[in-house]
Symmetry: D2
């Protein structure tokens, strides 16, 4: 029996996000992991020998015996999922895009480029139109599409139905972010035992600009036009392995009751749900009604880590509405987001095959 | 040599806040711990035998051999520091106040009463005027003065110089609170290992109302008039032993630069500093200039836990100014606050001696 | 379609172990959860309303709408899985056994009774013979079978192949136990943040006596005869949610190399593996060869939590052999152990049906 | 007023152990911090600018304005306290010893050299005799004295009175070690949140050999002769900031009751206590009698971190005696140990002044 699934490459395969890609793609119906790329330290070894696998006890069998290729490898797979570290991502991802690959990137390098979509299929599927511009501008056979920062993805997914139903005027968000967001080794344990660090480099700026870009418009004439709401972010690192918690207060153009807001969250569906994409959660937003949820230890894996979990929807004396959201930062906040993007591309026929 | 210090009683002596009182009073120049009160389970034992001391390796020698008295004991000490649990505090504290004691309480029972001050000596020393009203209203020989909730104390201390200099219009605060705030046994470890709980019962309401009362006015004609700013709070429990971290965004009536706000924080002094009260920190607000401070593990014990530590003062795109504050929740946030209040009372001659 | 699976009751259904039973039985091929029993506080509600579900985001649908029965309910299910708290377990479990139920208990009440098996199907399946004695002795229509303490189960499972192959003379074990072993609320977070507690009540004694009973013999003439090795235990509580880690040094009657010990671990199979029981792990003992494994965060869920994970098999300068083991304390260490016992009973036809 | 205290240098001043030296020496009656040495990255800056101070909120004022010197600096201070990282320590420490400095080292490089003492003043003050040999052998004007590994220091301190009173035959120790032992950044938080790592590189070997060397003899004829007991160690990293906990079982040549063992612990004194050295704890071993102590969060700072805290002294069914010990790993386990050594040298006139 031949495997007719589309071969894909995972860049930065031995890292935190790379491992998550390999885990999520292990039994994927449409894609199969065919090529693994990592730094020179790992290149030439099998994935098994090169990798300190950290997502549970065992790495997927299919990946274990694949050879790890170096950064300069010529790849055969039409799709390249990238969890490359920011310092090397730019050049490698550009080369692959130029050479005809669909590159789905998790680094911040190209996120704010005027011809690169920051894509969430439920939120801004129309932004894929920018790909055409990108290929023309740059003379590339392939293209780059990026995910937003992990906090921004879940915030945006949650804001989308509110923006559509009520209009978004201003919001305040305080994040309590998990350590896996900083990779491995990442955050020292002396910073996290009995402690909170009220700062994550560039995170507040990313949250502000990326959320506006994603909820904004694309037009062939004007390019990306960021949404015009005001966003203020406080970002913190807390002693949690996975799952970012965010406290949000929002001012809507048309004030809404907690019940209306909850209804909007629960009614929300997007193209991945319509198309029943393999990685799409049934509900992109799951609403919890308990007084003390969501909690990362209990809720981060709900819906396979692909939904944003919302709770405590209530009135805000200052901005009108407040709530808490939780999202898995390396699934829907990184690798899973790219996989969903690739699924959309396949259905929409925009893979460079 | 006779000990001429004022004898004081500690109510709820075996608990979390009670132990902190005993630690802070161990070598106090003006007060000596003379009487200890706890529930029937402890009454009749020595403090040493009744108590699982949890503030370091050793309890103060002076307290160890004191007998623990029951809730119904007749106390001789003019001052009663109370760390009683909320369910029993009301009746006991009222009886002691009626009988002529100055009761300095940490429970929420009487905090919002129209004739009970919520006192921070640096913030609202004028609120002691309400004591006269209280004694007359209630026919009490003594009185009750309360501390605010631990998060509200540090928030209010920090807001005071901004309110005075620029006027406070609106603010947003997200807390990340330590588990010692819930006492012992308090928060289960299954709720705190690899987790955040985005809810603390009644905490958000307390933050909103208590802060407004403390920053408001007292007049003999109108009683307490809460300050008129709007406050929205999100309260979270995080895996930290001691020290509440709060992310604050504030809209001032007269906009101020981060430099002006920092100057206001650093210039802030109150009556405790003028009077050089024994427990007064030199600066009620300590400003950190590093990009990632304050942090509870590093900064909570600065200034003996009696100051609020502020950092990351910067512009807020939504409200104008944002910053992070950290405060020790059982020192300046509870026991230390009461001790400072008592020191003020002694100097001002309003102890019922 | 009728459900021909055997109906089972879960006692203590709302608690830590009870929830684990319900999770493990949710899609069981032979058993279906039919009755739920809990304390009066919960009785009369649906399971959904009575329970703060803490094993992930969602309780199994099948259980959610079941009514919770009180401790005195007349049960119809032939099998009763018990996660009752120790203080109430004795009487309830005895009544049910008397009335004809197979009671599979996790409390320590009856563990050391001379006619009650402490059963691990891979280790001492012959101990079921004691059931006959028990029913005769007590005039019961049903019976009670118990699981050992969670630390003892994993230790015993690991020692079994060494005992068989080389003979066990003496051993030393230091445990680092997860907080879920103490239930909910259980261990206070102030005891577990930045801390280790080097004591767990009665745990060291249980480890010593229960391990000897399980690795000992049963004969109709002499009853249980404990194995004669010497065991010394140090038990500690550490800040881990699930998974007990144990450092073991062992003196064998016939000294063995690390390679021989590893081979014995890996070759180990028992009746559950022969019978291919639904909950049986393929290998009861999984050997890790990395220098720093097993680790609870990575390995506790391997083999569905039903295996003991062993690593660092090496020479011990004092006793000959040392290694580290890790086991999931509420799956193979509690609920999963009972489920496996029930599966064995079904195949062996000793259920009171 | 001139400062007549002996000037000392701190090598590796910006690191974890270096900061602890500076903290402990801040108000030392005999020594003053005069020179600070760190890597090229820090050299040329002030200590304030070069250092991310992590021992509380504030670095000692006296050190803050000192310039940081590079590794190749010519030092004027007769004493050099070294917290240098292992990879660079060897060469630098040797050069300084050659040039006439008393080097008190915390790295493992020279610990097992046949002419280098591993010194604990309460345990083996006679080992200083090896210094003469060392200087002659190597033609050095100064010398190197080392501390043992942090776990070995506390274990040895605890074993010493047992060895003297009863004779030590064999022992088993399982450590649960704090993350500060690995420096900063050190252990990744993904390894420590909800986890235990049952391995620390070379730690078990160090515990075995260093303990034997320290409890052994020195003679001019035979040099160091290690004590002949057998020691088996299991070393683990746990989520604790400071304080190593060790579970110990010991076989004594002359069996002793828990009472006798406790008496031996409590009666123990050494030369630092006789000489009343400034950093000497009154009792080198503190015995706790509670059933669940010592605990790192509560007891690590007792006696200023300079004592070993022992608890749970009881019979061991396998080796005769068991107990738990706790020791501060960067005070008596590192920097404080060197300071105590230097104090002994000053009194004994063996500083190269």
């Amino acid at each position: 029996m031949t495997d007719s699934r589309i071969p894909v490459a995972v860049l930065g395969a031995t890292g935190n996000v790379g491992q998550r890609f390999i885990q999520l793609l292990a039994d994927h119906p449409w894609f199969r992991v065919a090529e693994l790329v990592a730094s020179e330290r790992s290149a030439g070894k099998t994935f098994r020998d090169a990798t300190d696998w950290r997502l549970g006890a065992r790495m997927p069998e299919g990946a274990a015996d694949l050879p790890v290729l170096g950064y300069d490898a010529d790849l055969q797979s039409p799709i390249a999922f990238s969890g490359l570290p920011g310092e090397v991502a730019g050049e490698i991802e550009q080369r692959l895009a130029r050479d005809g690959h669909a590159v789905l990137s998790n680094t911040s390098t190209h996120r704010m480029d005027p011809d690169v979509p920051l894509l969430i299929p439920e939120v801004n599927p129309g932004h894929v139109a920018a790909i055409e511009r990108q290929r023309k501008n740059r003379g590339w056979a392939g293209f780059i599409v990026t995910n937003a920062n992990c906090s921004a993805i879940h915030l945006t997914l949650t804001l989308k139905p509110l923006h559509d139903a009520f209009g978004l005027d201003a919001l305040f968000v305080t994040t309590m972010q998990a350590v896996s967001g900083a990779g491995y080794p990442g955050v020292p344990s002396l910073d996290m035992i009995d402690n909170v660090v009220p700062f994550i480099g560039s995170e507040e700026e990313k949250l502000e600009t990326e959320t506006q870009k994603m909820l904004g418009a694309w037009s062939d004439d004007c390019g990306f036009q960021p949404a015009s709401f005001v966003l203020s972010a406080h970002c913190n690192r807390v002693p949690v392995r996975d799952g970012h918690t965010e406290c949000v207060s929002v001012r809507l153009n048309r004030p809404a009751t907690p019940g209306e807001v909850t209804d909007a969250f629960e009614a929300f569906r997007g193209r991945p749900q319509e198309l029943e994409l393999p990685s799409a959660p049934t509900h992109p937003i799951v609403v919890r009604r308990e007084h003390n949820r969501p909690q990362p230890a209990l809720d981060r894996d709900d819906a396979g880590g692909m939904a944003s979990i919302v709770g405590r929807v209530r009135d805000c004396p200052l901005l009108g509405t407040k709530f808490v959201l939780l999202g898995h930062n390396t699934i829907r906040g990184a690798a899973g987001a790219s996989v969903l993007n690739a699924e959309l591309f396949k259905v929409d026929g925009i893979l460079p095959l």
